[in-house]
Amino acid sequence: MRDTGKTIEAYLPLAMPIPRMAAAEKYLRRAARAATPYMMVAPAIWSLCVFVVYPILYMIWLSAFRWDMIGPKIYVGLGNFAELFSNPDFYVVMGNTFRFMFFSVSISIVGALLLAVYLKAKTRTNAILQSFIFTPYIISMVSVAFMWVWLMNSEYGLLNFILGKAGASGVRWLEDASVAMYSMIIVAVWKGLGYNVIILISAMHAIPNQLYEAAALDNTKPLKTFFRITLPMISPTLFFLTLMNIIAAFKVFEQVALMTGGGPINATNTLVFDIYQFGFKFYQLGYASAQGVVLMALIAVCTAAYFGALARRVHYGGEA
Protein backbone atom coordinates (compact mmCIF):
# COMPACT_ATOMS: atom_id res chain seq x y z
CA MET A 1 0.00 0.00 0.00
CA ARG A 2 1.24 3.43 -0.81
CA ASP A 3 1.95 5.54 2.25
CA THR A 4 -0.28 8.57 2.00
CA GLY A 5 0.98 9.97 5.28
CA LYS A 6 -2.32 9.49 7.01
CA THR A 7 -2.78 7.30 10.02
CA ILE A 8 -5.11 4.39 9.97
CA GLU A 9 -7.67 6.40 11.98
CA ALA A 10 -8.21 8.66 9.02
CA TYR A 11 -9.70 5.73 7.15
CA LEU A 12 -12.03 4.66 9.91
CA PRO A 13 -15.11 6.55 8.75
CA LEU A 14 -14.76 4.90 5.38
CA ALA A 15 -14.36 1.53 6.99
CA MET A 16 -17.55 1.75 8.98
CA PRO A 17 -20.04 0.25 6.48
CA ILE A 18 -17.70 -2.57 5.55
CA PRO A 19 -19.46 -5.42 7.41
CA ARG A 20 -22.72 -4.81 5.49
CA MET A 21 -20.91 -4.44 2.19
CA ALA A 22 -19.21 -7.74 2.78
CA ALA A 23 -22.54 -9.44 3.31
CA ALA A 24 -23.94 -7.99 0.12
CA GLU A 25 -20.84 -8.93 -1.78
CA LYS A 26 -20.92 -12.44 -0.42
CA TYR A 27 -24.56 -12.72 -1.42
CA LEU A 28 -23.84 -11.41 -4.89
CA ARG A 29 -20.93 -13.73 -5.30
CA ARG A 30 -23.03 -16.69 -4.26
CA ALA A 31 -25.78 -15.65 -6.63
CA ALA A 32 -23.24 -15.33 -9.42
CA ARG A 33 -21.89 -18.77 -8.63
CA ALA A 34 -25.40 -20.24 -8.68
CA ALA A 35 -26.12 -18.54 -11.98
CA THR A 36 -22.90 -19.71 -13.66
CA PRO A 37 -24.16 -23.10 -14.88
CA TYR A 38 -27.33 -21.52 -16.20
CA MET A 39 -25.34 -18.95 -18.11
CA MET A 40 -23.19 -21.71 -19.52
CA VAL A 41 -26.05 -23.81 -20.84
CA ALA A 42 -28.20 -20.83 -21.85
CA PRO A 43 -26.96 -20.34 -25.44
CA ALA A 44 -27.28 -24.04 -26.26
CA ILE A 45 -30.64 -24.50 -24.58
CA TRP A 46 -32.00 -21.30 -26.09
CA SER A 47 -30.93 -22.46 -29.52
CA LEU A 48 -32.48 -25.91 -29.03
CA CYS A 49 -35.73 -24.38 -27.82
CA VAL A 50 -36.01 -21.90 -30.68
CA PHE A 51 -34.83 -24.15 -33.51
CA VAL A 52 -35.96 -27.61 -32.45
CA VAL A 53 -38.61 -27.61 -29.73
CA TYR A 54 -40.61 -24.63 -30.94
CA PRO A 55 -40.69 -25.69 -34.62
CA ILE A 56 -41.95 -29.12 -33.64
CA LEU A 57 -44.72 -27.70 -31.46
CA TYR A 58 -45.55 -25.24 -34.23
CA MET A 59 -45.73 -28.09 -36.74
CA ILE A 60 -48.08 -30.09 -34.50
CA TRP A 61 -50.27 -27.00 -34.05
CA LEU A 62 -50.21 -26.30 -37.79
CA SER A 63 -51.34 -29.85 -38.54
CA ALA A 64 -54.78 -28.88 -37.18
CA PHE A 65 -55.28 -26.17 -39.81
CA ARG A 66 -55.82 -25.82 -43.51
CA TRP A 67 -53.46 -23.14 -44.76
CA ASP A 68 -51.96 -22.11 -48.11
CA MET A 69 -49.28 -19.78 -46.63
CA ILE A 70 -51.10 -16.64 -47.83
CA GLY A 71 -54.76 -16.86 -46.83
CA PRO A 72 -56.16 -17.29 -43.32
CA LYS A 73 -55.63 -20.49 -41.35
CA ILE A 74 -58.80 -22.57 -41.13
CA TYR A 75 -59.12 -24.86 -38.13
CA VAL A 76 -59.92 -28.43 -39.18
CA GLY A 77 -59.00 -30.38 -36.04
CA LEU A 78 -57.85 -33.82 -37.06
CA GLY A 79 -59.17 -33.24 -40.57
CA ASN A 80 -55.70 -33.32 -42.13
CA PHE A 81 -55.00 -36.69 -40.57
CA ALA A 82 -58.37 -38.02 -41.75
CA GLU A 83 -57.50 -36.82 -45.24
CA LEU A 84 -54.01 -38.27 -44.98
CA PHE A 85 -55.15 -41.72 -43.95
CA SER A 86 -57.87 -41.87 -46.58
CA ASN A 87 -55.47 -40.83 -49.35
CA PRO A 88 -54.25 -43.86 -51.32
CA ASP A 89 -51.16 -41.90 -52.38
CA PHE A 90 -50.11 -41.64 -48.75
CA TYR A 91 -50.02 -45.43 -48.50
CA VAL A 92 -47.93 -45.58 -51.65
CA VAL A 93 -45.51 -43.07 -50.15
CA MET A 94 -45.34 -44.90 -46.81
CA GLY A 95 -44.90 -48.22 -48.62
CA ASN A 96 -42.00 -46.73 -50.58
CA THR A 97 -40.46 -45.25 -47.46
CA PHE A 98 -40.60 -48.54 -45.57
CA ARG A 99 -39.40 -50.54 -48.55
CA PHE A 100 -36.48 -48.20 -48.97
CA MET A 101 -35.76 -48.37 -45.23
CA PHE A 102 -36.03 -52.14 -44.98
CA PHE A 103 -33.90 -53.04 -47.98
CA SER A 104 -31.27 -50.34 -47.68
CA VAL A 105 -30.76 -50.98 -43.96
CA SER A 106 -30.75 -54.78 -44.09
CA ILE A 107 -28.47 -54.96 -47.13
CA SER A 108 -26.16 -52.36 -45.69
CA ILE A 109 -25.95 -53.98 -42.25
CA VAL A 110 -25.53 -57.55 -43.49
CA GLY A 111 -23.10 -56.43 -46.19
CA ALA A 112 -21.13 -54.42 -43.65
CA LEU A 113 -20.98 -57.42 -41.31
CA LEU A 114 -19.57 -59.63 -44.05
CA LEU A 115 -17.08 -56.98 -45.14
CA ALA A 116 -16.07 -56.25 -41.55
CA VAL A 117 -15.24 -59.91 -40.95
CA TYR A 118 -13.45 -60.04 -44.29
CA LEU A 119 -11.44 -56.86 -43.74
CA LYS A 120 -10.86 -56.80 -39.99
CA ALA A 121 -7.30 -58.13 -40.02
CA LYS A 122 -4.90 -55.20 -39.70
CA THR A 123 -3.13 -55.41 -43.04
CA ARG A 124 -2.15 -52.73 -45.49
CA THR A 125 -4.48 -54.05 -48.22
CA ASN A 126 -7.42 -54.12 -45.83
CA ALA A 127 -6.73 -50.55 -44.70
CA ILE A 128 -6.69 -49.38 -48.32
CA LEU A 129 -9.91 -51.23 -49.13
CA GLN A 130 -11.58 -49.78 -46.03
CA SER A 131 -10.62 -46.30 -47.19
CA PHE A 132 -12.13 -46.94 -50.60
CA ILE A 133 -15.37 -48.29 -49.14
CA PHE A 134 -15.55 -45.33 -46.77
CA THR A 135 -14.93 -42.61 -49.37
CA PRO A 136 -18.53 -42.29 -50.63
CA TYR A 137 -19.66 -41.65 -47.06
CA ILE A 138 -17.78 -38.38 -46.73
CA ILE A 139 -18.69 -36.82 -50.06
CA SER A 140 -21.87 -34.93 -50.77
CA MET A 141 -25.01 -36.86 -51.66
CA VAL A 142 -25.31 -34.44 -54.57
CA SER A 143 -22.16 -35.85 -56.13
CA VAL A 144 -23.10 -39.42 -55.39
CA ALA A 145 -26.58 -38.97 -56.87
CA PHE A 146 -25.29 -37.43 -60.10
CA MET A 147 -22.49 -39.97 -60.46
CA TRP A 148 -25.08 -42.72 -60.34
CA VAL A 149 -27.62 -40.96 -62.51
CA TRP A 150 -24.90 -40.95 -65.14
CA LEU A 151 -23.80 -44.55 -64.49
CA MET A 152 -27.44 -45.65 -64.64
CA ASN A 153 -28.29 -43.73 -67.79
CA SER A 154 -30.19 -46.24 -69.86
CA GLU A 155 -28.67 -45.26 -73.21
CA TYR A 156 -25.11 -44.12 -72.50
CA GLY A 157 -24.57 -45.35 -68.94
CA LEU A 158 -21.64 -47.54 -67.98
CA LEU A 159 -23.81 -50.04 -66.09
CA ASN A 160 -25.87 -50.97 -69.10
CA PHE A 161 -22.72 -51.16 -71.21
CA ILE A 162 -21.27 -53.70 -68.74
CA LEU A 163 -24.55 -55.61 -68.67
CA GLY A 164 -24.53 -55.67 -72.47
CA LYS A 165 -20.97 -57.03 -72.52
CA ALA A 166 -22.12 -59.76 -70.13
CA GLY A 167 -24.88 -60.64 -72.56
CA ALA A 168 -27.74 -59.25 -70.50
CA SER A 169 -30.20 -56.70 -71.77
CA GLY A 170 -30.05 -53.12 -70.47
CA VAL A 171 -32.07 -52.03 -67.48
CA ARG A 172 -33.98 -48.78 -67.34
CA TRP A 173 -32.63 -48.15 -63.87
CA LEU A 174 -34.41 -44.92 -63.05
CA GLU A 175 -37.22 -44.85 -65.60
CA ASP A 176 -38.78 -48.25 -64.93
CA ALA A 177 -41.26 -47.93 -62.06
CA SER A 178 -40.63 -51.47 -60.87
CA VAL A 179 -36.84 -51.00 -60.78
CA ALA A 180 -36.32 -47.37 -59.75
CA MET A 181 -36.71 -47.96 -56.02
CA TYR A 182 -34.09 -50.70 -56.10
CA SER A 183 -31.73 -48.39 -57.94
CA MET A 184 -32.20 -45.88 -55.13
CA ILE A 185 -31.44 -48.61 -52.60
CA ILE A 186 -28.23 -49.56 -54.47
CA VAL A 187 -27.05 -45.95 -54.31
CA ALA A 188 -27.98 -45.58 -50.63
CA VAL A 189 -26.10 -48.76 -49.74
CA TRP A 190 -23.08 -47.72 -51.82
CA LYS A 191 -22.88 -44.42 -49.99
CA GLY A 192 -23.59 -45.60 -46.45
CA LEU A 193 -21.87 -48.99 -46.34
CA GLY A 194 -18.41 -47.70 -45.46
CA TYR A 195 -19.57 -46.08 -42.25
CA ASN A 196 -21.15 -49.32 -41.04
CA VAL A 197 -18.03 -51.26 -42.00
CA ILE A 198 -15.60 -49.11 -40.02
CA ILE A 199 -17.88 -49.01 -36.97
CA LEU A 200 -18.28 -52.80 -36.98
CA ILE A 201 -14.56 -53.35 -37.50
CA SER A 202 -13.75 -51.12 -34.55
CA ALA A 203 -16.31 -53.03 -32.45
CA MET A 204 -14.67 -56.31 -33.50
CA HIS A 205 -11.23 -55.02 -32.57
CA ALA A 206 -12.56 -54.25 -29.10
CA ILE A 207 -13.34 -57.93 -28.46
CA PRO A 208 -10.75 -59.39 -26.04
CA ASN A 209 -8.38 -61.67 -27.90
CA GLN A 210 -8.49 -64.35 -25.16
CA LEU A 211 -11.95 -65.33 -26.36
CA TYR A 212 -10.60 -66.15 -29.81
CA GLU A 213 -7.56 -67.89 -28.35
CA ALA A 214 -9.82 -70.10 -26.26
CA ALA A 215 -11.93 -70.88 -29.31
CA ALA A 216 -8.77 -71.74 -31.28
CA LEU A 217 -7.66 -74.12 -28.52
CA ASP A 218 -11.00 -75.89 -28.80
CA ASN A 219 -10.61 -76.06 -32.58
CA THR A 220 -13.91 -74.22 -33.00
CA LYS A 221 -15.03 -73.77 -36.60
CA PRO A 222 -14.77 -70.17 -37.91
CA LEU A 223 -18.52 -69.96 -38.52
CA LYS A 224 -19.27 -71.07 -34.99
CA THR A 225 -16.70 -68.60 -33.63
CA PHE A 226 -18.50 -65.87 -35.48
CA PHE A 227 -21.94 -66.76 -34.13
CA ARG A 228 -20.80 -67.64 -30.60
CA ILE A 229 -18.21 -64.93 -29.99
CA THR A 230 -18.09 -62.14 -32.57
CA LEU A 231 -21.80 -61.59 -33.06
CA PRO A 232 -22.81 -61.55 -29.37
CA MET A 233 -19.89 -59.28 -28.50
CA ILE A 234 -20.73 -56.70 -31.16
CA SER A 235 -24.50 -56.98 -30.77
CA PRO A 236 -24.90 -53.69 -28.81
CA THR A 237 -23.00 -51.80 -31.53
CA LEU A 238 -24.99 -53.62 -34.18
CA PHE A 239 -28.25 -52.62 -32.52
CA PHE A 240 -27.37 -48.91 -32.29
CA LEU A 241 -25.95 -48.90 -35.78
CA THR A 242 -29.14 -50.43 -37.16
CA LEU A 243 -31.27 -47.81 -35.41
CA MET A 244 -29.11 -44.98 -36.76
CA ASN A 245 -29.42 -46.50 -40.22
CA ILE A 246 -33.19 -46.73 -39.89
CA ILE A 247 -33.52 -43.09 -38.88
CA ALA A 248 -31.23 -42.06 -41.73
CA ALA A 249 -33.35 -44.08 -44.17
CA PHE A 250 -36.61 -42.52 -42.97
CA LYS A 251 -35.32 -39.05 -43.78
CA VAL A 252 -34.18 -39.83 -47.33
CA PHE A 253 -34.69 -36.79 -49.55
CA GLU A 254 -31.66 -35.77 -51.59
CA GLN A 255 -31.53 -38.95 -53.58
CA VAL A 256 -35.21 -38.77 -54.47
CA ALA A 257 -35.09 -35.08 -55.36
CA LEU A 258 -31.97 -35.41 -57.52
CA MET A 259 -32.31 -38.82 -59.13
CA THR A 260 -35.99 -39.34 -59.89
CA GLY A 261 -38.05 -36.47 -58.51
CA GLY A 262 -40.26 -39.08 -56.85
CA GLY A 263 -41.14 -40.73 -60.15
CA PRO A 264 -41.77 -42.61 -62.28
CA ILE A 265 -45.45 -42.50 -61.29
CA ASN A 266 -44.70 -42.02 -57.59
CA ALA A 267 -42.56 -45.18 -57.46
CA THR A 268 -39.75 -43.50 -55.52
CA ASN A 269 -41.74 -40.85 -53.68
CA THR A 270 -40.82 -41.02 -49.99
CA LEU A 271 -42.17 -39.32 -46.88
CA VAL A 272 -39.80 -36.35 -46.62
CA PHE A 273 -39.97 -35.69 -50.34
CA ASP A 274 -43.76 -35.76 -50.11
CA ILE A 275 -43.70 -33.33 -47.18
CA TYR A 276 -41.55 -31.06 -49.29
CA GLN A 277 -43.92 -31.35 -52.25
CA PHE A 278 -47.04 -30.62 -50.24
CA GLY A 279 -45.41 -27.78 -48.32
CA PHE A 280 -43.40 -26.01 -51.00
CA LYS A 281 -45.04 -27.01 -54.27
CA PHE A 282 -48.75 -27.41 -53.48
CA TYR A 283 -48.79 -25.00 -50.51
CA GLN A 284 -50.89 -27.31 -48.35
CA LEU A 285 -49.02 -26.55 -45.15
CA GLY A 286 -51.47 -28.16 -42.74
CA TYR A 287 -51.47 -31.40 -44.70
CA ALA A 288 -47.67 -31.34 -44.98
CA SER A 289 -47.44 -30.73 -41.23
CA ALA A 290 -49.67 -33.73 -40.56
CA GLN A 291 -47.22 -35.81 -42.60
CA GLY A 292 -44.45 -34.26 -40.55
CA VAL A 293 -46.16 -35.50 -37.40
CA VAL A 294 -46.14 -39.01 -38.87
CA LEU A 295 -42.39 -38.73 -39.54
CA MET A 296 -41.90 -37.44 -36.02
CA ALA A 297 -43.73 -40.47 -34.61
CA LEU A 298 -41.47 -42.83 -36.60
CA ILE A 299 -38.34 -41.09 -35.35
CA ALA A 300 -39.69 -40.94 -31.79
CA VAL A 301 -40.16 -44.73 -31.76
CA CYS A 302 -36.57 -45.23 -32.92
CA THR A 303 -35.23 -42.73 -30.39
CA ALA A 304 -37.19 -44.37 -27.58
CA ALA A 305 -35.79 -47.76 -28.56
CA TYR A 306 -32.31 -46.26 -28.62
CA PHE A 307 -32.47 -44.71 -25.17
CA GLY A 308 -34.38 -47.64 -23.73
CA ALA A 309 -31.57 -49.94 -24.80
CA LEU A 310 -28.94 -47.45 -23.66
CA ALA A 311 -30.52 -47.25 -20.19
CA ARG A 312 -30.67 -51.03 -19.92
CA ARG A 313 -27.08 -51.37 -20.96
CA VAL A 314 -25.96 -48.87 -18.36
CA HIS A 315 -28.16 -50.61 -15.79
CA TYR A 316 -26.60 -53.99 -16.36
CA GLY A 317 -23.17 -52.46 -16.09
CA GLY A 318 -22.22 -52.96 -19.72
CA GLU A 319 -19.65 -50.60 -21.11
CA ALA A 320 -21.17 -47.55 -22.69
Binding site: M39, L129, I133, V142, W150, Y156, F161, I198, K251, F307
Partner: protein
Protein backbone atom coordinates in the same frame (compact mmCIF):
# COMPACT_ATOMS: atom_id res chain seq x y z
CA UNK B 1 -2.18 -84.60 -49.17
CA UNK B 2 0.41 -81.87 -49.43
CA UNK B 3 -0.61 -81.03 -52.95
CA UNK B 4 -4.20 -80.61 -51.77
CA UNK B 5 -3.10 -78.24 -49.02
CA UNK B 6 -1.03 -76.21 -51.45
CA UNK B 7 -3.90 -76.12 -53.88
CA UNK B 8 -6.32 -74.98 -51.17
CA UNK B 9 -3.97 -72.22 -50.10
CA UNK B 10 -3.42 -70.97 -53.62
CA UNK B 11 -7.12 -71.17 -54.32
CA UNK B 12 -7.86 -69.20 -51.12
CA UNK B 13 -5.37 -66.50 -52.05
CA UNK B 14 -6.79 -66.29 -55.57
CA UNK B 15 -10.31 -65.92 -54.19
CA UNK B 16 -9.16 -63.21 -51.82
CA UNK B 17 -7.49 -61.29 -54.61
CA UNK B 18 -10.62 -61.61 -56.74
CA UNK B 19 -12.86 -60.32 -53.96
CA UNK B 20 -10.44 -57.48 -53.22
CA UNK B 21 -10.48 -56.49 -56.86
CA UNK B 22 -14.27 -56.61 -56.91
CA UNK B 23 -14.52 -54.33 -53.85
CA UNK B 24 -11.97 -52.00 -55.38
CA UNK B 25 -13.88 -51.90 -58.67
CA UNK B 26 -17.24 -51.20 -57.05
CA UNK B 27 -15.92 -48.29 -55.04
CA UNK B 28 -13.35 -46.91 -57.43
CA UNK B 29 -14.93 -47.09 -60.88
CA UNK B 30 -17.76 -44.61 -60.18
CA UNK B 31 -15.14 -42.04 -59.15
CA UNK B 32 -12.97 -42.80 -62.15
CA UNK B 33 -15.97 -42.53 -64.44
CA UNK B 34 -16.86 -39.14 -62.99
CA UNK B 35 -13.30 -37.94 -63.51
CA UNK B 36 -13.12 -39.33 -67.02
CA UNK B 37 -16.46 -37.87 -68.07
CA UNK B 38 -15.43 -34.50 -66.64
CA UNK B 39 -12.57 -34.27 -69.16
CA UNK B 40 -14.46 -35.61 -72.18
CA UNK B 41 -16.27 -33.53 -74.75
CA UNK B 42 -19.92 -34.06 -75.61
CA UNK B 43 -19.16 -36.45 -78.47
CA UNK B 44 -16.91 -38.65 -76.36
CA UNK B 45 -19.43 -38.61 -73.54
CA UNK B 46 -22.17 -40.04 -75.72
CA UNK B 47 -19.96 -42.42 -77.68
CA UNK B 48 -20.95 -46.10 -77.73
CA UNK B 49 -19.10 -48.21 -76.87
CA UNK B 50 -17.73 -45.78 -74.29
CA UNK B 51 -14.06 -44.82 -74.33
CA UNK B 52 -12.13 -45.56 -71.17
CA UNK B 53 -9.34 -43.11 -71.67
CA UNK B 54 -9.07 -39.71 -73.33
CA UNK B 55 -5.70 -38.57 -74.60
CA UNK B 56 -6.62 -34.90 -74.82
CA UNK B 57 -8.45 -33.74 -71.69
CA UNK B 58 -11.07 -31.09 -72.27
CA UNK B 59 -10.23 -28.75 -69.40
CA UNK B 60 -12.59 -26.17 -70.86
CA UNK B 61 -15.45 -28.09 -69.21
CA UNK B 62 -14.42 -26.47 -65.97
CA UNK B 63 -14.59 -22.97 -67.38
CA UNK B 64 -18.05 -23.87 -68.64
CA UNK B 65 -18.96 -24.73 -65.06
CA UNK B 66 -17.69 -21.34 -63.91
CA UNK B 67 -19.74 -19.70 -66.65
CA UNK B 68 -22.93 -21.59 -65.85
CA UNK B 69 -23.07 -20.97 -62.12
CA UNK B 70 -21.61 -18.30 -59.81
CA UNK B 71 -19.12 -20.87 -58.61
CA UNK B 72 -16.88 -18.73 -56.43
CA UNK B 73 -19.80 -16.88 -54.90
CA UNK B 74 -21.27 -20.24 -53.90
CA UNK B 75 -17.90 -21.45 -52.67
CA UNK B 76 -17.77 -18.37 -50.45
CA UNK B 77 -21.29 -19.11 -49.20
CA UNK B 78 -20.27 -22.66 -48.47
CA UNK B 79 -17.32 -21.46 -46.41
CA UNK B 80 -19.41 -18.88 -44.55
CA UNK B 81 -22.11 -21.38 -43.73
CA UNK B 82 -19.74 -24.16 -42.66
CA UNK B 83 -17.41 -22.01 -40.58
CA UNK B 84 -20.30 -19.96 -39.20
CA UNK B 85 -21.86 -23.13 -37.86
CA UNK B 86 -18.53 -24.35 -36.48
CA UNK B 87 -17.81 -21.07 -34.69
CA UNK B 88 -21.32 -20.91 -33.19
CA UNK B 89 -21.08 -24.48 -32.02
CA UNK B 90 -17.70 -23.82 -30.44
CA UNK B 91 -19.21 -21.15 -28.20
CA UNK B 92 -22.49 -22.91 -27.39
CA UNK B 93 -21.32 -26.50 -27.05
CA UNK B 94 -18.22 -26.11 -24.87
CA UNK B 95 -19.79 -24.17 -21.95
CA UNK B 96 -22.93 -26.32 -22.01
CA UNK B 97 -20.94 -29.56 -22.04
CA UNK B 98 -18.80 -28.27 -19.17
CA UNK B 99 -21.83 -27.22 -17.10
CA UNK B 100 -23.55 -30.58 -17.63
CA UNK B 101 -20.36 -32.45 -16.76
CA UNK B 102 -19.45 -30.51 -13.64
CA UNK B 103 -22.51 -29.04 -11.95
CA UNK B 104 -25.69 -30.44 -10.51
CA UNK B 105 -28.11 -27.54 -10.52
CA UNK B 106 -31.85 -27.26 -10.25
CA UNK B 107 -33.22 -28.43 -13.58
CA UNK B 108 -29.92 -29.81 -14.83
CA UNK B 109 -31.43 -33.27 -15.28
CA UNK B 110 -34.34 -31.87 -17.23
CA UNK B 111 -32.20 -29.65 -19.44
CA UNK B 112 -29.78 -32.49 -20.18
CA UNK B 113 -32.74 -34.74 -20.97
CA UNK B 114 -34.01 -32.09 -23.36
CA UNK B 115 -30.60 -32.03 -25.03
CA UNK B 116 -30.60 -35.81 -25.45
CA UNK B 117 -34.18 -35.88 -26.71
CA UNK B 118 -33.37 -33.42 -29.48
CA UNK B 119 -30.30 -35.38 -30.55
CA UNK B 120 -32.13 -37.52 -33.09
CA UNK B 121 -34.31 -34.81 -34.59
CA UNK B 122 -33.21 -34.31 -38.17
CA UNK B 123 -33.39 -31.22 -40.34
CA UNK B 124 -35.99 -33.04 -42.42
CA UNK B 125 -38.43 -32.81 -39.54
CA UNK B 126 -38.15 -29.10 -38.77
CA UNK B 127 -37.55 -27.52 -42.17
CA UNK B 128 -41.18 -26.66 -42.84
CA UNK B 129 -41.90 -24.78 -39.59
CA UNK B 130 -38.46 -23.17 -39.65
CA UNK B 131 -38.96 -21.99 -43.21
CA UNK B 132 -42.23 -20.35 -42.14
CA UNK B 133 -40.52 -18.85 -39.08
CA UNK B 134 -37.66 -17.37 -41.09
CA UNK B 135 -39.95 -16.12 -43.82
CA UNK B 136 -42.09 -14.32 -41.20
CA UNK B 137 -38.90 -12.63 -40.01
CA UNK B 138 -37.84 -11.86 -43.58
CA UNK B 139 -34.73 -14.02 -43.17
CA UNK B 140 -35.13 -16.36 -46.12
CA UNK B 141 -32.01 -16.13 -48.32
CA UNK B 142 -29.91 -14.97 -45.39
CA UNK B 143 -26.86 -16.53 -43.79
CA UNK B 144 -28.76 -16.43 -40.50
CA UNK B 145 -31.29 -18.96 -41.76
CA UNK B 146 -28.47 -21.28 -42.84
CA UNK B 147 -26.36 -20.97 -39.70
CA UNK B 148 -28.56 -20.27 -36.68
CA UNK B 149 -30.61 -23.48 -36.69
CA UNK B 150 -27.32 -25.40 -36.34
CA UNK B 151 -25.76 -23.00 -33.85
CA UNK B 152 -25.61 -25.80 -31.35
CA UNK B 153 -25.41 -29.58 -31.49
CA UNK B 154 -26.95 -31.88 -28.90
CA UNK B 155 -24.72 -34.63 -30.12
CA UNK B 156 -21.55 -32.58 -29.64
CA UNK B 157 -22.69 -31.49 -26.17
CA UNK B 158 -23.24 -35.12 -25.23
CA UNK B 159 -19.88 -36.28 -26.57
CA UNK B 160 -17.91 -33.45 -25.02
CA UNK B 161 -19.65 -33.88 -21.67
CA UNK B 162 -18.46 -37.50 -21.62
CA UNK B 163 -14.91 -36.29 -22.21
CA UNK B 164 -15.11 -33.56 -19.56
CA UNK B 165 -16.47 -36.06 -17.04
CA UNK B 166 -13.27 -38.06 -17.36
CA UNK B 167 -11.13 -35.16 -16.15
CA UNK B 168 -10.14 -35.94 -12.55
CA UNK B 169 -12.01 -33.79 -10.00
CA UNK B 170 -8.80 -33.06 -8.07
CA UNK B 171 -7.42 -31.24 -11.07
CA UNK B 172 -10.42 -28.90 -11.12
CA UNK B 173 -10.36 -28.49 -7.34
CA UNK B 174 -6.68 -27.56 -7.51
CA UNK B 175 -7.47 -24.92 -10.10
CA UNK B 176 -10.31 -23.66 -7.91
CA UNK B 177 -7.89 -23.30 -4.99
CA UNK B 178 -5.80 -21.07 -7.20
CA UNK B 179 -9.05 -19.07 -7.43
CA UNK B 180 -9.35 -19.58 -11.16
CA UNK B 181 -12.75 -18.60 -12.50
CA UNK B 182 -14.96 -21.24 -14.13
CA UNK B 183 -14.33 -19.73 -17.56
CA UNK B 184 -10.64 -19.83 -16.96
CA UNK B 185 -10.93 -23.49 -15.97
CA UNK B 186 -12.75 -24.21 -19.21
CA UNK B 187 -10.33 -22.46 -21.51
CA UNK B 188 -7.04 -23.06 -19.70
CA UNK B 189 -7.58 -26.53 -18.26
CA UNK B 190 -10.44 -28.40 -19.93
CA UNK B 191 -9.95 -27.40 -23.56
CA UNK B 192 -6.35 -28.58 -23.83
CA UNK B 193 -7.36 -31.91 -22.27
CA UNK B 194 -10.40 -32.30 -24.53
CA UNK B 195 -8.59 -31.16 -27.66
CA UNK B 196 -8.78 -34.50 -29.50
CA UNK B 197 -12.54 -34.69 -28.95
CA UNK B 198 -13.03 -31.09 -30.06
CA UNK B 199 -10.94 -31.58 -33.19
CA UNK B 200 -12.89 -34.74 -33.97
CA UNK B 201 -16.24 -33.05 -33.53
CA UNK B 202 -15.05 -30.10 -35.59
CA UNK B 203 -13.96 -32.37 -38.40
CA UNK B 204 -17.32 -34.15 -38.48
CA UNK B 205 -19.26 -30.88 -38.32
CA UNK B 206 -17.15 -29.53 -41.16
CA UNK B 207 -17.66 -32.51 -43.47
CA UNK B 208 -21.38 -32.85 -42.81
CA UNK B 209 -22.14 -29.17 -43.33
CA UNK B 210 -19.79 -28.72 -46.25
CA UNK B 211 -21.65 -31.49 -48.06
CA UNK B 212 -25.13 -30.53 -46.97
CA UNK B 213 -27.63 -30.06 -49.73
CA UNK B 214 -30.97 -30.31 -47.98
CA UNK B 215 -30.85 -27.26 -45.74
CA UNK B 216 -29.46 -24.67 -48.15
CA UNK B 217 -31.82 -26.07 -50.78
CA UNK B 218 -35.07 -25.75 -48.84
CA UNK B 219 -34.19 -22.47 -47.09
CA UNK B 220 -33.24 -20.48 -50.20
CA UNK B 221 -35.22 -19.17 -53.14
CA UNK B 222 -32.37 -17.48 -55.02
CA UNK B 223 -28.59 -17.63 -55.39
CA UNK B 224 -27.78 -14.99 -52.74
CA UNK B 225 -26.65 -17.46 -50.08
CA UNK B 226 -26.86 -20.76 -51.97
CA UNK B 227 -23.95 -23.10 -51.43
CA UNK B 228 -21.97 -25.26 -53.84
CA UNK B 229 -23.92 -28.51 -53.45
CA UNK B 230 -27.09 -26.61 -54.40
CA UNK B 231 -25.29 -24.80 -57.21
CA UNK B 232 -23.99 -28.01 -58.76
CA UNK B 233 -27.54 -29.33 -59.08
CA UNK B 234 -28.41 -26.48 -61.43
CA UNK B 235 -25.76 -27.84 -63.80
CA UNK B 236 -28.19 -30.67 -64.41
CA UNK B 237 -29.63 -28.62 -67.23
CA UNK B 238 -27.12 -26.57 -69.25
CA UNK B 239 -28.09 -25.11 -72.62
CA UNK B 240 -31.50 -26.79 -72.47
CA UNK B 241 -30.33 -30.35 -71.94
CA UNK B 242 -28.38 -32.66 -69.69
CA UNK B 243 -24.68 -32.29 -70.45
CA UNK B 244 -23.09 -35.01 -68.42
CA UNK B 245 -19.53 -33.88 -69.07
CA UNK B 246 -20.31 -30.42 -67.61
CA UNK B 247 -22.26 -31.93 -64.72
CA UNK B 248 -19.40 -34.28 -63.88
CA UNK B 249 -16.88 -31.43 -64.13
CA UNK B 250 -18.90 -29.51 -61.54
CA UNK B 251 -19.24 -32.64 -59.48
CA UNK B 252 -15.50 -33.15 -59.54
CA UNK B 253 -14.94 -29.60 -58.29
CA UNK B 254 -17.34 -30.29 -55.44
CA UNK B 255 -15.76 -33.55 -54.28
CA UNK B 256 -12.11 -32.73 -55.03
CA UNK B 257 -11.40 -30.79 -51.81
CA UNK B 258 -12.97 -33.52 -49.68
CA UNK B 259 -11.12 -36.25 -51.55
CA UNK B 260 -7.80 -34.44 -51.22
CA UNK B 261 -8.39 -33.91 -47.50
CA UNK B 262 -9.38 -37.54 -47.14
CA UNK B 263 -6.29 -38.68 -48.99
CA UNK B 264 -4.00 -36.87 -46.57
CA UNK B 265 -5.94 -37.39 -43.36
CA UNK B 266 -7.80 -40.64 -43.90
CA UNK B 267 -6.64 -42.14 -40.62
CA UNK B 268 -7.88 -39.16 -38.61
CA UNK B 269 -11.13 -38.86 -40.56
CA UNK B 270 -11.98 -42.55 -40.24
CA UNK B 271 -11.05 -42.40 -36.56
CA UNK B 272 -13.29 -39.37 -36.09
CA UNK B 273 -16.31 -41.11 -37.55
CA UNK B 274 -15.55 -44.32 -35.67
CA UNK B 275 -15.40 -42.33 -32.47
CA UNK B 276 -18.74 -40.73 -33.27
CA UNK B 277 -20.44 -44.07 -33.79
CA UNK B 278 -18.68 -45.91 -31.01
CA UNK B 279 -20.53 -44.27 -28.15
Amino acid sequence: MQAAAVFRKTFGTACRIAVNLLIFAIFFIPFYWMFLTAIKNLGQTLQTPPVFWVSKPHWENFSKVFAAIPFFHMLKNNLIMTFGIMICQFFTVIPAAYAFARFRFAGSGFLFGLTLATMMIPAQLVFLPLFLMFSRMGLINSYASLILPWATSSFAIFMLRQTFKQVPRELIEAAKLDSASEWKIIFKLMLPIAKPTIVTLGLITFILNWNDYFWPFVLTTNNAVRTLPVGITSLNIVDGGVKYHILMAGNLLLVAPVLVAFFFAQKQIIKAFTYMGGK
